[in-house]
């Protein structure tokens, strides 16, 4: 085999028919461009969801109050208030690997500051919450364990709520009334953006859970518990420990359902990214169809080319080309067409994705990996669809081919 010479022959053959070569390449350009752009859109959506998942915090385990059954009536998750502050203490004491823990109560409440009012999510948490969510303050300081013990009326405010209540002024030291109970604002949170569910996470007011329970909501049970595991590896083992402990504490006999629910960040992430993963696959699959159509275009042109150049093949064979040389020549022509289309298609796809990002405001993400896969795939299309015509050419009988009109 003389690969370099064969490549040269293939290149000369393609150059002899520039218009045809360009049109054949166009099919692959469209195919590869579509794949790159579509996968870019899918990956962009996935990356956005992943970023939202990451905004939950690091190595987070959530324990929700479960449903109870009273007189045949099933209540929803989180509504029953089966978790208590004692449960939180017990988990902190007995489960190994707890880095931070925060009991949580929440209520939607109309909050008032001066002559402004705003309905917002009021969360009761412990100071650990800001570590668990990895949510630093932009201004002021968070409330402390002492504030929790004394059920002090202090609050940390989210960016959206702050803007609604105080416009451009600094809220630090100002009073906000929650159900007529005055709270002093000690800190302002950095903005976090939308949650996985699409709600504004900055539309929030966070107070010590003790204050929320005693002074605002008048409740003794928790909606949920936020736990941060000391390491990612512990995420696998901790839910079981927590479940066992809580079943024991709640005296749930074997065979009975839990009255709580344990979810890790991974569980939530998997559920949320599943949708975007399906979308990416679907978009990629649809775009691949056009790539395959482009490949069929190559096969079509190569078959025409073989027929049209039968005498050329005869001449080449007469002057000493092996069947293998002919096979390689036509295969290389097909691969050159498809990979050239691949390279241009990648550029077109990147541009298309950028345009979509700019015009439709969709997040797109083009990875080096998807570019490499698209290029290799386009070359593979050339090999796959070029092989049959090439083999047909290589099997011609030199005498018949020479006298072909």
């Amino acid at each position: 085999m003389r690969p370099l010479a064969t490549a040269k022959i293939a290149w000369r053959a393609l150059r002899r028919n520039p218009m045809r070569s360009a049109l054949t390449t166009l099919g692959i350009i469209v195919g590869v461009g579509a794949v790159i752009a579509m996968v870019g859109i899918g990956n962009g959506a996935k990356a956005q969801v992943e970023a939202q998942i990451a905004s939950l915090g690091r190595n987070v385990i959530l324990v929700f109050s479960g449903s109870t059954t009273a007189s045949g009536l099933h209540t929803g998750m989180g509504s029953a208030g089966t978790l208590t502050v004692e449960d939180v203490d017990a988990i902190g004491r007995e489960v190994s690997g707890v880095a931070a823990i925060s009991p949580e109560v929440r209520t939607i409440s109309q909050v008032v500051a001066g002559n402004q009012n705003w309905a917002t999510q009021v969360l009761g948490e412990s100071p650990d919450y800001f570590d668990i969510r990895q949510w630093p303050l932009a201004e002021g300081t968070p409330f402390t364990d002492r504030d929790v013990r004394s059920a002090n009326k202090v609050a940390v405010i989210g960016r959206t709520t702050a803007r609604q209540l105080y416009a451009g002024d600094s809220p630090i030291g100002r009073i906000v009334r929650i159900k007529n109970v005055p709270f002093v604002i000690v800190g302002v949170l950095t903005p976090k953006g939308l949650s996985v569910m699409g709600t504004d996470q900055d539309d929030v007011l966070i107070v010590p859970y003790s204050a929320a329970m005693k002074r605002v909501m008048g409740t003794t049970t928790l909606r949920s518990i936020n736990i941060q595991a000391a390491s990612a590896t512990l995420l696998a083992s901790m839910p079981r420990q927590i479940t066992e402990l809580l079943r024991q504490r709640h005296r749930i006999g074997p065979g009975r359902d839990d009255d709580f629910m344990v979810r890790t960040q991974q569980d939530i992430a998997e559920a949320a990214t599943e949708t975007s993963r399906i979308m990416t696959t679907l978009l990629g699959a649809i775009a691949s169809v056009s790539l395959i159509v482009g490949g069929i275009g190559i096969m079509n042109i190569m078959l025409v080319s073989v027929t049209e150049r039968t005498r050329e093949i005869g001449i080449r064979m007469a002057v000493g080309a092996h069947a293998r040389d002919i096979l390689m020549q036509f295969l290389l022509e097909a691969i050159a067409l498809s990979s050239l289309g691949g390279v241009i298609g990648i550029a077109v796809g990147i541009v298309a994705a950028k345009v979509l990002s700019a015009v439709a405001n969709w997040p797109t993400l083009i990875s080096v990996g998807s570019i490499a896969v698209a290029f290799l795939f386009s070359a593979a299309v050339g090999i796959f669809f070029g092989f049959y015509p090439a083999r047909k050419a290589s099997r011609l009988d030199p005498i018949t081919a020479l006298h072909y009109e």
Partner: protein, 257 residues
């Protein structure tokens, strides 16, 4: 002088269904190095089949064929291709040049399938071959920019570029007018006589199929076939000299060296 070609009882039989067609029947033939043989015969006489066998494009169904010491009958497809590449040059009636490809690239074609030549060497050899047929100044012309005679000379340059031992010409003047035909015979006669055509200075052996008795008279030996057999095999009695003929025809157009 040893025989360059030895055919011993060579036959070629085609089978279509139950009917066997004997295209070539037990032909034996010796051609020495330096000969210029014209093969003649009516269509269907088996001369094309014989040429295909001699050109290693086809294998005989019976008998032995030895070319320049190589037993051809036993070679496989790729070995035949290598043999054609190294030892044979082909000239066809229809020129068979690659269209939209320069004369130089056409001449380079056989070297692309040969081993051990750099691109520069290929280039030089192709130019030398074109110079030999008087077309060095047309190297970058495409076939459609050349006259029939010029195209045939490019084809001859292509046939010569790998320095073959044997030149096979199948009706080389069939598509040319009489004056251009004589010019081509002039090129053949010069190549056959030797001189610059090959690195060892020896003349090239030519086998030429033609149906024109006038053209056959430029050869040194005439073979006439009928029904797959050689019926006549004689030296050319009154051999024509292409250079003299051209002088007689007058200086219509400049003739290549």
């Amino acid at each position: 002088m040893g025989a360059l070609i030895t055919l011993d009882q060579v036959s070629k039989t085609y089978r279509t269904g139950d009917i066997a067609v004997h295209a070539v029947r037990e032909v034996s033939l010796d051609v020495g190095a330096g000969e210029f043989v014209a093969i003649m015969g009516a269509s269907g006489s088996g001369k094309s089949t014989l040429m295909n066998i001699l050109g290693c494009l086809d294998r005989p169904t019976g008998g032995r064929y030895v070319l320049d010491g190589v037993e051809v009958s036993e070679l496989d497809r790729d070995q035949l291709a290598d043999l054609r590449n190294r030892k044979l040059g082909f000239v066809f009636q229809g020129f068979h040049l690659l269209s939209r490809t320069s004369a130089l690239e056409n001449v380079e074609l056989p070297m692309l399938y040969a081993r051990g030549l750099t691109a520069t060497q290929q280039h030089e050899r192709a130019l030398r071959a074109l110079d030999l047929v008087g077309l060095a100044d047309r190297a970058d012309h495409h076939p459609n920019q050349l006259s029939g005679g010029q195209q045939q000379r490019v084809a001859i340059a292509r046939a010569l570029v790998n320095e073959p031992v044997l030149l096979l010409a199948d009706e080389p003047t069939g598509n040319l007018d009489s004056r251009t035909s004589v010019e081509i015979m002039g090129v053949f006669q010069r190549l056959n006589a030797g001189s610059a055509s090959r690195s060892n200075g020896q003349g090239i052996t030519i086998l030429m199929v033609t149906h024109e008795p006038d053209i056959a008279r430029y050869a040194t030996r005439t073979i006439i076939m009928r029904d797959g057999r050689i019926v006549t095999d004689v030296p050319v009695a009154e051999r024509l000299n292409a250079a003299d003929e051209l002088r007689r025809l007058g200086p219509l157009q400049p003739v290549g060296p």
